[in-house]
């Protein structure tokens, strides 16, 4: 699928790219600072949990990473919709990169959740933890996204299939969540009740900083990967022109 213009000029897609208001180095520095501040708050400032002690601090990372993963999947679906709707040529790659970041953060959710479950309840895996099970389903779903994408040649068909599949993801997330909640009634009648922490003071501040840090980190990684992929595509097209 050659996008070369008839006159043999530079391919059109060389012009394709988005200019962002915040330059990438500044964004990277900002996210490094934020993540450091969040880590300091989590380890030194936030109070110990009365029930679970020090290990409860993984909550700040686990929950903020989980929300970030959802945000990435939502961004991927949004870009997919933009691709299908507006035929924006940049949206396909952006959708893919967002989903990719979502899968990376999703794997981190599985890992941090697993560690937390091991320390709190003595098992690496608990089917009664709804969030963990949901992320496992999503992980499998989005792993198939990559299989799908890489078994179609680059071009409009691949962009369309990826976009439609990414849209299925945002419908699958609430449906699976509901299903897993329902499954609790016949698989695990006993639901672990975490005693409700008073969500205020340093706990709230720490959580909010950690959440913002993870979102900014995800956005930085998204921009880095996008820049890399665009460079890759440009290089390939330049080679094609020169050949």
């Amino acid at each position: 699928m050659s996008r070369r213009s008839a006159s043999g000029d530079l391919p059109q897609s060389l012009e394709v790219g988005r200019t962002y208001r915040i330059p990438l180095p500044a964004l990277a520095a900002f996210s490094a600072v934020l993540v450091t501040v969040a880590a300091v708050l989590v380890f030194f400032v936030a109070p110990n949990d009365a029930d679970q002690g020090f290990s409860q601090r993984i909550f700040y990372f686990h929950v903020s990473i989980a929300l970030t993963a959802y945000a990435c999947f939502a961004a991927g679906a949004w870009k997919a919709l933009v691709h299908l709707w507006k035929r924006d040529p940049r949206a396909d790659l952006e959708s893919y990169v967002a989903v990719h970041q979502g899968v990376i953060f999703g794997s981190l959710v599985l890992m941090t959740g697993s560690i937390w479950a091991k320390i709190s309840w003595g098992h690496w895996w608990l089917w009664s933890e709804n969030q963990l099970v949901l992320f496992l389903v999503l992980f499998l779903f989005y792993a198939a996204y990559f299989m799908l994408r890489y078994s179609v040649d680059p071009g409009p068909q691949r962009a369309n299939l990826s976009a439609v599949y990414a849209l299925f993801g945002v419908v699958l997330i609430p449906v699976s969540f509901l299903a897993i909640r329902l499954a609790q009634h016949f698989i695990h009648p006993i639901v672990f009740t975490r005693h409700g922490p008073s969500f205020g003071g340093w706990i709230l501040v720490t959580y909010c900083v950690a959440q913002v840090a993870m979102l900014v980190l995800a956005y930085t990684l998204y921009r880095v990967e996008l820049a890399g992929k665009r460079l890759d595509a440009r290089l390939r097209e330049l080679k094609e022109v020169l050949a």
Binding site: G155, L161, Y165, S176, A179
Partner: protein, 212 residues
């Protein structure tokens, strides 16, 4: 009502093809019965009826997968899909016609499979049968759609179960729930919700799967 006529014509074409060539349905039937025999030996004696009910759902999903994986293969191989895309009908009619044909195959397989299950294992409650019907709708809408995606790729048969199974997990949860609990109402409602949501999504986005 040209839309309904188009869908009817497409579904009839698949059913006629099945009557003449007859490869998918017998394969599904033999597969589902063979699976039951495997399950009988996989379940140690003294296993509860609940375990067998759970395995029934595994058998149904895999039987559907067997048929759905091949749903669009004739269209791709003979180049029929290009003709259908060029035909002056709404593209979603291609999906709906195929989904209806697949539903007929799946229900036909289950008309045999459920009595055989009752014979080999135990009686099924009425809610389980309603659950099977509702899940069939979801399996066929989503499965046909994903099947159309899979045949467009190089991996084809390899990709089909990978794409379909994560999407089928909620259906299995709803179906098993409806079969084993005493108050199956909300599981059946959940299955109906799944069917409605995904049917709408498939109907709206099928165009992008077949057209470039």
């Amino acid at each position: 009502m040209t839309y309904a006529r188009d869908v009817g014509a497409l579904a009839r074409k698949d059913l006629l093809l099945q009557l003449r060539a007859g490869d998918t349905l017998p394969a599904m039937l033999i597969f589902v019965v063979a699976t039951f025999v495997v399950f009988h030996f996989a379940l140690p004696s003294g296993s509860s009826d609940l375990a067998a009910t759970g395995l029934l759902w595994v058998a149904l999903v895999f039987t559907a997968l067997l048929g759905l994986g091949r749903a669009f293969v004739p269209e791709r191989e003979q180049g029929v899909l290009d003709g259908l895309v060029l035909a002056p009908c709404d593209r979603s009619a291609i999906w709906l016609g195929k989904a209806i044909a697949m539903l007929v195959f799946l229900v036909a397989a289950e008309v045999v499979a459920l009595p055989v299950f009752a014979l080999f294992f135990h009686q099924l409650p009425w809610a389980a049968v309603v659950g099977v019907v509702l899940a069939d709708l979801g399996i066929c809408t989503v499965g046909t759609f994903v099947g159309a995606m899979a045949v467009a790729t190089r991996a084809r048969d390899l990709l089909m179960p990978l794409l379909f199974l994560p999407l089928a997990i909620p259906l299995v949860i709803g179906g098993v729930g409806a079969s084993v609990v005493s108050g199956p109402g909300r599981y059946l409602e959940f299955l109906a919700l799944y069917d409605a949501l995904f049917a709408l999504l498939c109907w709206a986005s099928f165009e992008y799967v077949v057209a470039e």
